[in-house]
């Protein structure tokens, strides 16, 4: 049986992309899989009794070493902010390529805590900073120093000791350009080193909290229970800075989504589902309910989504327990067709992610397809004709062509870069100043404009001639030729409309990172948790791959 890949005009709508969940293809899970047989060690731990100082953690294999260099600093409560405008953080980190020398650490100590205004070198690969969840950190210190484990209810509700507020890579602030490392075989998936940084930071937070508690009361203090550590992750606060990334990297976006769609297609094409595979799938679905019921948010929007997801997942569990037989040929295809008719789109994507759990043989080889040599697709094929470009747009952007951009609500917002922090922002074009400096992120509007121009041009004209008098449309001409070969490279929605929910764009990217417990704080930023339930570094050599569904502090 040949199952078609799902239609990009359905999958690439923002509401659908904003319903994606983590899966085996997510970068933090593929990172753990890649580095599970590397040697982990804590190479330096030079903190004062209050927990301030330096630490170094590393992963080593053969001649390759990656070292996380951590700097924990004292800051005042009024200086602690998750906003990107902050200038001080509880801790700052960089992932160094190799073993840092004393001189390196001295240099980094001067630069890393400054973050965006510091300068890194090609020897550094990623950069980040994090703030304590003060309430949780202090609570854990208090309890451990008194010889007690902390309140699990509080820990479950928050899920982490520290929140990162940005993780930078790929040449930012002097960090190594991606081309320097992309051919290393362990870097065969996107954001590998960003994931490594966050994973090692998580271990640092446990070591720091134990260290502070011990120095507070050396005679009585106990260490944070390993099972509790395992079920704490690293929080992350994410704002709009992340949203344009998926617009600016079309072939990369395509490769993420295409890989997921290919995995789904292959699973739907399995004729006989083995008993152990259906059992594992059902087990993951049932256990995953805890992830939904422990998902805490004050956002009414997200609470409604969670309620609807829970109701739909329960309906699905009832279906597979009582009305479905996995001995049916092409069982996962039957399941997919049932989902498509009976549940909400968030539940469809939730179950699609879990369908991958039994099939490492399908997902593991696909992971290496998730990167992209973007420069290869940059040049515009200017020998093609206006007729060809018109036909591509008609085929690939049918819904976009129906949008009327002369209506105010379809043209309400504009994306810009803030001068203060050099970060992307979204604003109302009719209320705020600055729309003349709009970023080229209104792809739907510009594609429509291009199409209207093409209708007025001679069909035989080649693109070189067309561009000679339409240079303002060059950025979308490039994209249209990309989408011809990369069907999932474009968001099939209006990114400047009145009703845009920007966090849908963030959720898409974060789901590929492997984030859990999306907690929108507004329609423009959210908090998430990463690595909650993940094996500790000391457990990596032999861990349960389905850890994500088995998070439990008790």
């Amino acid at each position: 049986m040949n199952i078609e890949l799902r239609d990009p005009n359905v999958i690439m709508k923002l509401s659908r992309l904003g319903s994606f969940h983590q899966s085996k293809l997510s970068f933090l899970r593929s990172f753990l899989n890649e580095f599970k047989d590397w040697d982990y060690s804590r190479d330096l731990f030079n903190l004062d009794p209050k927990g301030f100082g330096e630490a170094v953690y590393s992963f080593k294999k053969e001649n390759r070493v990656y070292s996380l260099v951590c700097f924990a600093n004292k800051i005042n409560d009024d200086e602690r902010s998750d906003r990107v405008i902050a200038t001080k953080w509880d801790a700052a980190f960089t992932l160094h390529d190799g073993v840092p020398t004393k001189e390196d650490i001295k240099r980094l100590k001067n630069e890393v805590p400054k973050q965006e205004v510091g300068r890194l070198s090609f020897k550094e690969l990623t950069l980040s900073r994090a703030n304590k969840s003060v309430r949780v950190f202090n609570h854990v210190v208090e309890n451990l120093s008194e010889g007690k484990q902390p309140d699990l209810e509080l820990l479950t509700k928050v899920g982490y000791l520290y929140r990162t507020t940005a993780v930078y890579g790929s040449g930012k602030f002097g960090l190594a350009d991606r081309f320097r490392i992309k051919n290393r075989k362990e870097i065969n998936g996107p954001f590998r080193l960003e994931m490594m940084l966050v994973y090692l930071v998580r271990q640092f937070t446990f070591d720091q909290v134990n260290h502070v508690a011990h120095h507070k009361n050396p005679k009585k203090a106990v260490k944070l229970d390993k099972q509790i550590c395992k079920n704490l992750g690293i929080g992350n606060s994410t704002g709009l800075g992340m949203a344009p990334f998926i617009v600016n990297h079309p072939t990369l976006l395509n490769n993420w989504i295409l890989t997921r769609e290919t995995a789904l297609k292959k699973i739907r094409e399995i004729k006989h589902v083995k008993n152990e595979d259906s059992k594992l799938f059902k087990d993951c679905i049932k256990k995953s309910v805890t992830n939904i019921t422990s998902w805490s948010t004050d956002s009414e929007y997200q609470q409604n989504k969670i309620k609807s997801l829970l109701k739909n997942v329960e309906k699905f569990i009832n279906y597979i327990e009582n009305d479905f037989d996995f001995k049916t040929d092409y069982a996962f295809n039957e399941i997919y067709l049932w989902l498509d008719k009976n549940v909400c789109e968030e539940c469809i994507e939730y179950v699609v992610s879990i369908m991958m759990e039994p099939y490492s043989d399908i997902t593991n080889p696909l992971v290496s397809n998730m990167s992209s040599e973007e420069d290869k697709y940059f040049n515009i094929p200017t020998n093609r004709t206006v007729n060809e470009l018109k036909s591509i747009i008609e085929k690939k952007y049918p819904n976009i062509l129906e949008i009327n951009f002369s209506q105010k609500e379809n043209n309400q917002n504009f994306w810009f870069i803030s001068k203060n922090k050099e970060e992307p922002r979204l604003a109302d074009r009719f209320e705020e100043h600055g729309s003349e400096l709009e970023q080229p992120l209104a792809i739907a509007r510009d594609i429509k404009k291009l199409y209207e121009k093409l209708l007025l041009s001679s069909g035989d004209l080649n693109i070189a001639e067309f561009l000679s008098s339409n240079s303002d449309l060059r950025h979308v001409v490039r994209r249209a030729f990309i989408v011809e070969n990369f069907p999932y490279s474009e968001i099939q929605d209006n990114t400047i409309g009145k009703n845009i929910v920007p966090i849908d764009m963030l959720r898409l990217k974060l789901s590929f990172f492997g984030a859990l417990k999306f907690d929108p704080r507004s329609d423009k930023w959210l908090r998430i948790c990463m690595f909650q339930g993940a094996p500790l570094p000391s457990e990596l050599k032999n861990y349960d791959e389905q850890w994500v569904y088995k998070s439990n502090m008790q």
């Binding site: 070189a464 561009l467 008098s469 240079s471 001409v477």
Partner: protein
């Protein structure tokens, strides 16, 4: 040291800020990144050009012919470069393309390097006693390395170099003869059994 990614992003934004379209700005970002990667002073020339552009007029050439003369000023290296890149498939049929007065030729030549990769041929540019050879965007050979690039190239000739060997047949044969010294002379028995295949194909 600035990373290439920082160079590309800052160049793209600066180019947009001086009035080029976003699409053209993306092209300039790639080109300046390339120049800096090859150790050529792209940022320096671009900065100087944008300052100069604010004071002086540069002419846009959108459709390139075999011989190209500006009407009154010098050619803008960016518009000319983008046009050259876009029209390379038709331009490669000319034996030689001539330009008179191109401003900031270093910026223009970065587009030639990319064009060389697109057509899979080396491109040679000669201007005012200078020569630069673009080798499929893999490297740039220039007599101007470590010297200041001129601000105007007055008489410019561009030629497409057909793919051909850089050595004579005699030189090749001499080298190949040496390579043969790694081969084993086959005895009769080796001829029969060494290759593994059957001795006849009449089956």
């Amino acid at each position: 040291m600035r990373s290439l990614s920082e160079i590309e992003t800052a160049t793209k934004r600066a180019t947009r800020a001086v009035g080029f379209s976003w699409g053209n700005s993306e092209e300039v970002g790639k080109c300046i990144r390339l120049l800096e990667l090859f150790g050529l002073p792209g940022i320096q020339n671009l900065n100087q050009y944008y300052k100069d552009r604010a004071q002086n007029k540069f002419e846009n050439l959108n459709l390139i012919k075999e011989k190209n003369e500006p009407v009154s000023d010098v050619f803008c290296p960016i518009t000319l470069g983008v046009s050259f890149l876009d029209q390379i498939r038709s331009l490669e049929h000319y034996k030689k393309i001539e330009f008179h007065k191109i401003g900031y030729p270093l910026i223009f030549v970065s587009f030639l390097s990319r064009a060389s990769e697109i057509i899979g041929k080396k491109i040679l540019i000669k201007f005012d006693q200078n020569e630069i050879l673009f080798n499929l965007n893999v490297n740039i050979q220039s007599s101007l390395f470590n010297k200041d690039f001129p601000l105007i190239a007055n008489n410019v000739e561009i030629m497409f170099v057909d793919n051909q060997d850089n050595f004579t047949e005699l030189e090749w044969n001499s080298l190949y003869k040496l390579a043969e010294d790694t081969f084993v002379e086959e005895s009769e028995s080796l001829k029969k059994g060494g290759a593994g295949a059957g001795l006849t194909d009449n089956d």
